[in-house]
């Protein structure tokens, strides 16, 4: 009887130790990233998986809400054969248990900000399963070269992955991309600040085979996917428009209306200086047709190109 009580007390102490270890300093905190990676590689090779799978882990970690949230998402599904929980369970991602549960002195593969494990080592876990076309350009992507870990954006211990939800993805991106976060609040911008549009409507965070990790082959193709009326081809093309939309616009936002880099007439006068009205200095806005209303666009309104047979000056 005394032995049984003693055993229970010991188990209780061990469980408390596990819980406290999960939130406090761990014995492997003193290891450098390289040392940690080497130790985990050894463990991984030895393959000393737990005899009971997730139950072995949850004996200590079940009171941690963040841990248990795995069952709210796809990675916790037990009836999908592609889910880790239908295979090696927790150890599918966190590596073999080894002696981790015996005093908690052996590290496991951990993810996120507090992990000392290199991004490439963390990501190798995810890439072990996620070898699909969305990852086609990952290895050459800026995020990979900048050593961004999957867990920096994704959270699989959750019903909602913040990188995959329309109402959260912009916050996920702008937690690092501060300038773009500010740009959303400029006088004109795409409706990103209200989550009506998202960063991933245009960009592929996993990288793409296109400039600036865009979803479409060119900048203009990306713009045309929502602004198909500007695609043409048009009988009369405006050369800089055809060449690149960002010649005049900044799609992340601008202090000028219509996301323009500058306003008319000065924007137009950065390219047009003929012997005529376009060369004249417009001294004051709002006093004549050159600096008032829509300025140059009062007359040359079809600035993105015209399909009128007589529209070479983009007036019709």
């Amino acid at each position: 009887m005394i032995c049984r009580i003693f055993n229970k007390v010991l188990i209780g102490i061990a469980a408390l130790a596990c819980i406290s270890l999960s939130v406090n300093a761990t014995p492997w905190d003193k290891l450098t990233g390289d040392q940690l990676e080497q130790q985990l590689t050894e463990k991984f090779t030895q393959g000393q998986y737990s005899p009971k799978g997730a139950d072995s882990c949850l004996m200590c970690h079940r009171k941690n809400e963040a841990v248990m949230a795995i069952f709210d998402g796809a990675h916790g599904a037990m009836n999908n054969k592609q889910s880790p929980m239908a295979g090696l369970q927790c150890e599918a991602c966190h590596g073999p248990l080894g002696k981790h549960n015996k005093g908690g002195k052996e590290p496991m593969i951990a993810f996120g900000d507090d992990s000392k494990l290199s991004a490439s080592a963390q990501n190798s876990v995810c890439q072990g399963c996620h070898n699909d076309p969305k990852q086609m350009a990952w290895h050459t992507s800026t995020h990979n070269l900048e050593e961004i870990a999957c867990a920096d954006c994704h959270n699989v211990h959750s019903a909602k992955d913040p990188a995959l939800d329309q109402l959260m993805v912009n916050d996920t991106c702008t937690s690092c991309h501060l300038k773009e976060k500010a740009d959303m609040n400029k006088r004109s911008s795409h409706p990103l600040k209200w989550d009506q549009m998202t960063c991933v409507d245009c960009h592929s965070p996993h990288g793409s085979m296109n400039e600036s990790a865009l979803n479409k082959p060119t900048i203009n193709d990306t713009c045309y996917s929502c602004h198909a009326e500007k695609r043409g081809p048009l009988l009369w093309e405006h050369a800089p428009v055809t060449e690149n939309c960002v010649t005049c616009h900044n799609p992340h936002g601008s202090v000028n209306e219509d996301m323009l880099n500058s306003r008319a007439p000065q924007l137009c006068q950065q390219c047009h200086a003929p012997d005529g009205h376009a060369s004249r200095v417009v001294q004051e806005p709002g006093v004549d047709a050159f600096g008032g209303g829509k300025s140059c666009l009062n007359c040359h309104n079809k600035i993105h190109g015209s399909n009128h047979p007589s529209g070479s000056l983009f007036q019709r």
């Binding site: 090779t45 999908n80 500010a182 209200w194 193709d221 055809t242 004249r280 009128h308 019709r316």
Partner: protein, 668 residues
């Protein structure tokens, strides 16, 4: 024996640890000792059945100005209602469904439904409405009906706003090794946008918008252990329901955007050989536009055979030569081959038919981009990167038919310091190209000193510093500072210089388990200088454009109140966009020198209280306030200037409020 082997394996691994990168993929796992029959998972939680929540929202909206509809998702004055929800279903055999809805019933909202079997197939239905407001209650004397703009003494009142409604259906099928998908979407865009025609004096009007864009995408992919390949088709079909616009006394003063379509076929692949990864893609495309042309004297065609063939190719390789050094290279080639025919068409002069003919010039554009990069780990936590990029562009019918830009960049990443990450980046780019000529077909009338800024010689230097500091375990600070200067050193007339600099600071604080707060501040300045010549000779006026942006925000969330039932929170945002233009030079006679005001600021406040009525029910009360003011010196009254008709002064100055009460029912 096994034990000895393990010791040997471990020893070898320890020796080779600095050469072989860790790969913890489950496919590499040593599962010899695993016996899954003993797995029970008694402590696992089954997520089968329904989970999530359904929310009904109702409240009072007071936008004061239609423009507030952007922030409030509705420009309706009075009581508003909507439904949101996030429901998931899963059964024991793996069938699942999810439904997410956000503010359905308001101008901006979406709904998404997915049903299928995990890892096998999925059917997706999607709906999204986006409405963007530029100005409300705009007045024009013109009424549009069936392509005719009829002037009337009774003003036509409308909102300058565009509503997009996108509906989509998609189906995907596959089992890891192979995957297929097909998706069809249709977007209806309606509303009015600001436009202008010349007849013969300029008249601003509300251009009616009513168009449909259909999109059909399909693809198939195959994956192996170290390779991937994918074949895709993308098709887009644009159809404009608004005709060319005429006046009763003048035909076709405004041509409609023509119907068009675009198709792309793409094949891509990736192959991994040890620690070297290669990827490549070929895309062939065609854009077609053969809508009927307006029939006017001097037009030889019923319809024009607009056709552009595109080709995009890329090959990229990256390799970890050892644990310290990564190198990469890529080649991109993009070609826009304009196959459209060229004809002569009669053109109008400023105010009457001049009889002059002009030939359309179908432009070809070809781009090549070459990139080299290397990343070297100097020591644990110290990494240096460097690269060289070269872009070449060839374009026909241009003042400068060939431009090239060489860009050298370097980065230093330091993560070795306790709780501090430092990233420094610098780049130096030079753009040059073929001789700049005034082309007969494009701008023979331009001043010979003009260099168009997108073609001109340019030197671009930029530096950026990023700091991330976890001051304490509960405080995180991100700071970014940047400076860039573009020098158009061969330009006498046109854009001569542009500087862009600023900073962004972000602080996140977790004050306790229940209280979190954040604050951010950022400023940006863009100073541009350009020169012009009114006398069509050397520069006689300069414009200095000074753009400035300020962005401030803070917020707090306090949960765990009233025995974990109540959460209180609030957010505040201030932004101010300013653009000042200063003129100088002998051609400038105005003593003021400075343009009129051009700025826009807003204060946004959002406060909320979430209260859990029971484990199944929750109430949320929220209040949103928007203060918005913008001004533009170019805006003027409808007939302030003789000969120009505008849509009036469309500046904004409003205080908007929205109070919402929402009731959520939690399904589990």
């Amino acid at each position: 024996m096994t034990f000895k082997l393990n010791i040997i394996t471990v020893s070898l691994l320890a020796m080779s640890g600095s050469v072989v990168a860790a790969n913890f993929g489950v496919g590499n796992a040593n599962t010899e000792s695993v016996n899954m029959d003993k797995y029970q998972c008694k402590r696992c939680v089954s997520a089968t059945g329904y989970t999530g929540s359904v929310t009904l929202l109702t409240g009072y909206n007071s936008p004061e100005d239609a423009h507030a509809g952007n922030a409030l998702s509705s420009d309706e004055e009075g009581v508003i209602a909507a439904i949101s929800g996030d429901v998931r279903y899963l059964n024991d055999t793996g069938y699942k469904a999810s439904m997410q809805a956000h503010q359905l019933g308001m101008d901006n909202g979406f709904a998404n439904i997915k049903v299928g079997k995990s890892g096998l197939y999925e059917l997706e239905l999607d709906y999204q409405a986006i409405k963007t407001f530029e100005a409300g209650d705009v007045r024009s004397q013109l009424w549009q009906n069936d392509g005719m703009l009829t002037p009337s003494v009774y003003p036509n009142q409308f909102d300058l706003a565009l509503q997009r409604e996108n509906s989509a259906i998609g189906f995907s099928f596959g089992e890891g090794v192979y995957n297929t998908f097909v998706r069809f979407s249709q977007e209806e865009k309606t509303g009015h946008q600001s436009a202008s025609f010349v007849a013969p004096s300029p008249t601003n009007f509300g251009l009616p918008v009513d168009s449909t864009t259909k999109q059909l995408d399909a693809g198939a992919s195959l994956a192996g252990d170290n390779w991937l390949t994918e074949l895709n088709y993308f098709g887009s079909y644009y159809s404009n329901n608004i005709d060319d616009l005429s006046l009763p006394y003048m035909n076709d003063v405004y041509s409609a955007a023509p119907d068009n379509q675009a198709h792309q076929l793409s094949i891509s692949g990736q192959y991994q050989l040890d620690r070297t990864v290669m990827s490549g893609r070929l895309v062939t495309g065609r854009m077609i536009q053969d809508d009927s042309l307006i029939q006017v004297s001097g037009n030889p065609l019923q319809s024009w055979d607009g056709q552009i063939d595109t080709f995009d190719g890329r090959f990229a390789v990256t390799s970890m030569l050892n644990n310290r050094l990564r190198v990469g290279a890529s080649v991109d080639h993009s070609k826009r081959d304009n196959k459209s025919s060229s004809w002569e068409f009669t053109q109008y002069s400023y105010n009457s038919l001049s009889g002059a003919f002009k030939q359309n010039v179908p432009q070809d554009i070809e781009r090549s981009t070459y990139k080299l990069n290397a990343s070297y780990r100097l020591a644990s936590g110290y990494r240096v990167q460097a690269g060289f990029d070269r872009k070449e562009i060839d374009r026909s019918y241009s003042e400068r038919e060939q431009t090239d830009e060489n860009n050298l960049w370097a980065k230093l990443n330091i993560s070795a310091l306790d709780n501090v990450n430092i990233n420094v980046k610098a780049s130096h780019g030079v753009r040059g190209g073929s001789e700049y000529e005034v082309n007969e077909l494009t701008s023979s009338e331009d001043n010979a000193l003009m260099r168009k800024y997108y073609l001109a010689d340019r030197t671009r230097n930029a530096v950026e510093l990023k700091l991330n500091h976890s001051l304490l375990s509960w405080v995180s600070i991100d700071l970014t500072g940047r400076y860039a200067i573009d020098d158009y050193n061969a330009t006498t007339i046109g854009l001569t210089e542009s500087q862009d600099y600023g900073y962004d600071l972000n602080i996140s604080v977790q004050l306790s388990k229940d209280i979190s707060a954040y604050g951010f501040a950022g400023q940006q300045w863009i100073d541009s200088t350009q020169a012009g010549s009114q006398s069509f000779s050397s520069p006689d006026w300069q414009a200095n454009i000074q753009d400035e942006f300020i962005n401030l925000g803070t917020g707090i969330s306090y949960s765990g109140l009233m025995e974990d039932k109540l959460t209180l929170g609030g957010d505040y945002l201030f932004s101010n966009s300013i653009s000042d233009t200063y003129l100088d030079g002998s051609a400038v006679t105005n003593s003021a020198l400075q343009y009129g005001d051009y700025f826009a600021y807003n204060h946004s406040v959002n406060m909320y209280a979430n209260y859990a009525l029971s484990p199944k029910m929750a109430l949320k009360l929220s209040y949103q306030y928007e203060r918005y003011y913008d001004t533009d010196g170019a805006q003027m009254g409808i007939n302030t200037v003789p000969g120009l008709t505008t849509l009036g002064e469309l500046n904004h100055d409003y205080n908007a409020h929205q109070v919402m009460l929402s009731f959520s029912y939690l399904l589990r």
